[in-house]
Symmetry: D2
Subunit: 185 residues, 4 copies
């Protein structure tokens, strides 16, 4: 799950609509910042109870010119009720104010395109992109606040081509369906 | 908000559909049990983060023949996205297994009928009905676990016509809109 | 652990010193109130992290003329460091303001007298005495806030000789030594 | 409180006794690791409820060859009851297993020597020393898990002489005496 010696460029987000931002955000435009993406579904308990509150904490802790938090609504089930209007109500009621992208539905199958491109296993999934625009970390399930803080701290500090492997702690959830950890695709 | 010397009979729930039960539940059929109703909206943060998890704890703690927990989906805003199919997905994803009723929409206006009949001020609202079927407590906003436990304990123990006033602690939320406390109508 | 059909009179507390009260408290003088005793040791993690904070919450929630909270420092190990002066510093630093009694050391053996008389298995132990002065509940280990609230609510409401068995939920800890649950004698 | 452009070498710890280690630990011997020191008092509520549990989490999260956690018992009040034997009991009961140093009492005055040398304002105080042995961060009061994780992550990653200022977030507590935040000297 973790690109090791040769980090690869993070693939573009395929998005149909953005919330909480005046204009679409291209990953390319974020070079120089650490990017933290929380993929979620608005009716996924592990996302609502843990992932998104943590995303909001990250957004509050770090200066905007150093860390960019992005929510990515990657709906792979129950598409009929997790619609864009429903998402907008959800985001407004919870007062989340970081940018949130709607993952682009696929022509075939339930999994949206960015979710497929990143080979995500479910929601929540946390993705970290370094200041050079490379994908450095991806995990399905929950991270503690100390873990995410530590990963962000590492990416904030590194310079040049000295890329350490971030995945030294924790493990992925392996239960099917929705648990307190998350919802598996 | 609290019926004092003369508790009045709890009004019937006006319901269009029930989840997690084979048959509609009439309050009259629950005489002999303490009834704990959590009125909520599926996109109300105070309901999702506090009210419903507490309802589930109440449901797990007490024997079914002593305490009946009922969720009441009283949608007074954003009706287009808090639909019955959306509610069913929500309840399934969160694995709530106590009975949940859909409050009946009014012919005129956004407030559903049971919510109006009980003069609820928003969600979450906790309602307690004693073993004789009388409305004994109603509050908009959040109760601590110790408070709700204490109220239920009192109602479980009283017998005959010795009705104490339960409302000795806490106070109602008074903020407009949705806060961490709840959503105001 | 729970007196069932025939609740017995709670035995007197054997105390060498009281904190946070001008005068010694006799259980007999508390008839008419529900009494909640938290037996603890000042260096028992389960007491410090859970039991005493819960005792403080009980003390804040209920009117003083209805519920009397008492801390009971029942030291059965490490007597050399859990002294009365150490206890006084502990209570002052944590700003606990409910009455706290020092359990009377035995002439022989490490277990203090009240702890022996009540056959406590370790700390924390929660003891509930009803308004008539009868011992109604005793448990080693931790109770949730909802459980303790429920038990207190029941005892507050009952009148006359109608004594229900309170011990319908939860179970005792069974690990040796100190765990997050408590310290076993 | 934070050395900016010119980080200075961390002063040696002045210690009378070590717990949880076979041999005294010299800061000089830790060059190459990030060192996280939690100064505490065993009867300081903010230390017991927050600081030390966080120290234990740090100790569990990071490999021993990358991050060294040290507890520093810096007693500046109530010396008669926060003795070394009392500390040993405390550490044993709470099952803390990272190295803990006893700050050396001063010849004159209540404040121990390391606490004075570092100009600490009270307990808990968190101190971070980088891989080169320089003092990089010091704060009285509580840090969130995300903050401490972030600081450690930064120090783990930097190399050479590229020293960023860590103190971009949070603020010090300013209340006198012991609060939930900590105890002020």
């Amino acid at each position: 799950m973790n690109p090791s010696s040769q980090p690869r460029r993070a693939q573009p987000l395929e998005v149909t609509e953005w919330l909480n931002t005046d204009h679409p955000i291209e990953l390319d435009s974020l070079v120089g910042k650490v990017v933290v993406i929380y993929a979620f579904q608005m009716l996924c308990p592990g996302c609502v109870m843990h992932g998104l509150p943590q995303a909001a904490k990250v957004s509050r802790l770090y200066p905007k010119d150093e860390v960019q938090v992005i929510g990515l609504h990657s709906v792979f089930e129950h598409h009929d009720v997790m619609t864009v209007p429903a998402l907008k109500t959800f985001v407004s009621e919870y007062s989340y104010n970081f940018p949130i992208a709607v993952d682009k539905p696929a022509d075939v199958g339930p999994t949206p395109i960015t979710m497929s491109n990143y080979a995500m296993r479910g929601t929540p999934t946390v993705i970290l992109i370094d200041k050079a625009g490379s994908l450095r970390f991806q995990r399905f399930g929950q991270l503690t606040d100390m873990q995410i803080g530590s990963y962000i701290g590492r990416l904030l500090t590194e310079s040049g081509s000295d890329h350490q492997d971030l995945s030294t702690t924790g493990s992925e959830s392996d239960t099917d369906g929705c648990t307190s950890e998350g919802c598996k695709a």
